[in-house]
Symmetry: C2
Subunit: 325 residues, 2 copies
């Protein structure tokens, strides 16, 4: 499972970071998913491995502009590029109205592809395709905000050759049939079911990607079985104390505590206040402060998202930073 | 008069160019004007000399997304920066509805400044402040589209010292009074009016900035008295012949012919199709083709806009490319 951050700044773009967007794909698959779409997401995409033609589904966490103002431009560009594949946007109330009205005002009366919206602000929301099963989880913010839990679809395990040999299934077409999920009948009349000769399926990879939220603990249940938590950490505790709780954002500490309680392996922090610089001068805040704070409360790995930063969550549960975005 | 291009691509952003936006200011004035606001304009601004706090008025040429989708983000950022000064957006129908609905969907219920819209799709439109008088001029495009004619407000001429001496006005406070526009009474009882002792005012600088348009000749009247025409040249003639007229855009030739007929001094071409590259490889289209085509039909200067490209129209009527944007 591969994540490429396209924007990692809270509220407004900075010279170092754009507003929020995240591309997610199952390893080398061409199809990919977009979580949030701040203004300028299509610009960031041009310098990434992903193309609009491979975009399968968009998930929006909440209606704030820095998470959705890039949608009309991205959709218009896909239209001008001649996209034909349908596009689904899963989002809470308000996003569809924004997008449809924007396109109408801009005289985009007809798209060359079907644009469908699905409401995620319902308890039973589940999105499923051949790569992922995605559920939504309500958070705490100034507007309804949601996390998305991406669970890799389990594929049947590979054939267990020892078991096949023990049962006397001859190598050849019968193995192929079993691999494709069909039972086979041996010469002696025994029927072998695929389930008898398969290894256990590989563990499904699960990542929980949060929207803006001041109570990361709300994700405790969603984080069960997840290896990776991606969550906003807009402030460190000291800044939070100065700014106050009115913006309803998280600190690195609070995210780390929730991750520790839920026993996930990896946390990627994102959505940083513009005051945190990559290379701070004396007296300035640096993003490393966020990492240090989180590491104090969490025993897993802590990574700091940056624009075009790309991470791979392997089948072995390891999280690796990739060079190529 | 200073123009900084913030986006010069037609329809969609490219790696070299963003979608349309242009910053205009009267020389070194802090206050500036924005003409069009494609997605990502606020990002381009961060690397320009201009700040959102100095932005006085926005003019939108037409409702297509590549000319207005940057408005909600720019307004939201101005709001988060605590802007207090009122902001006026002069635009044809559709733009206000787009902006107000976008802000409402994004839960921006209250701005810390007054946001006012003025309709430019009316014959009598005139915007006036202490720097510019701006009129709108209808063009020909797939949706109602307008050019804006920016005429510098004439300030009274400087005092004519020879004339003051000839009339026997003693140097000192009386000169100051005349300079500030008040009549003075001399010791011998004669009353001197400011108009008697002023040099003729410097010629007003006028720039006409077009929106998308397939009939540049429509600007003939608006171009009278103008030194500078900024106009889209999406295609060269050969490409236009292949693409056909359906997009209702101009070619470099057609803009040049209109400029020649109206006898303006300078043309800056912009809004180039993505196929025209700055450094084309063999077989690719290059932006220089647009300049060559225009120069063939126009005797004035032809410049090709590029992102962050900055030009100064001097009081002497000369157009100079500046290094600093």
């Amino acid at each position: 499972m591969r994540l490429t951050f396209l924007g990692t700044s809270a509220g407004v773009p900075t010279l170092e970071r754009n507003v929020t967007a995240l591309a997610l794909a199952l390893d080398e698959q061409r199809e990919w998913y977009l979580v949030d779409c701040g203004e300028g997401t299509q610009h960031r995409l041009m310098r990434s491995r992903y193309t609009l033609s491979g975009l399968k589904t968009i998930f929006i966490t909440h209606v704030h502009g820095d998470h959705m103002f890039g949608l009309p431009g991205l959709i218009t560009t896909a239209s001008m590029q001649g996209r034909k594949d349908p596009l689904t946007i899963c989002a809470p109330a308000g996003v569809e109205s924004f997008v449809r009205h924007a396109l109408q005002c801009a005289a985009v009366t007809e798209l060359p592809f079907t644009l469908t919206f699905r409401a995620t602000d319902v308890e039973s929301f589940e999105y499923r395709d051949n790569h992922f099963s995605v559920t939504s989880h309500e958070l705490s913010h100034r507007v309804p905000s949601f996390a998305y839990r991406f669970a890799e679809c389990c594929h049947p395990g590979a054939l267990d050759q020892d078991r096949l040999n023990a049962l006397g299934v001859p190598r050849g077409p019968l193995w192929g049939k079993l691999q494709s999920g069909q039972p086979v009948t041996l010469e002696d009349g025994r029927v072998i079911e695929p389930e008898q000769v398969r290894q256990p399926p590989p563990p499904a990879r699960v990542a929980v990607i949060g929207g803006d939220n001041d109570q990361p603990g709300l994700l405790h249940t969603a984080l069960q079985g997840a290896q990776l938590m991606v969550h906003e950490a807009t402030f460190t505790e000291d800044v939070f104390c100065k700014v106050g709780p009115k913006y309803m954002h998280s600190t690195a500490k609070r995210v780390a505590e929730a991750a520790e309680q839920a026993q996930v392996d990896h946390v990627i922090l994102t959505h940083f206040s513009g005051r945190y610089r990559r290379s701070p001068k004396p007296g300035e805040y640096g993003v490393e402060m966020l990492r240090q704070e989180a590491k104090h409360y969490f025993h897993g790995t802590v990574s700091l998202a940056e624009d075009w930063g790309c991470w791979q969550l392997g089948r072995d549960g390891r999280l690796e930073r990739l060079k190529d975005h």
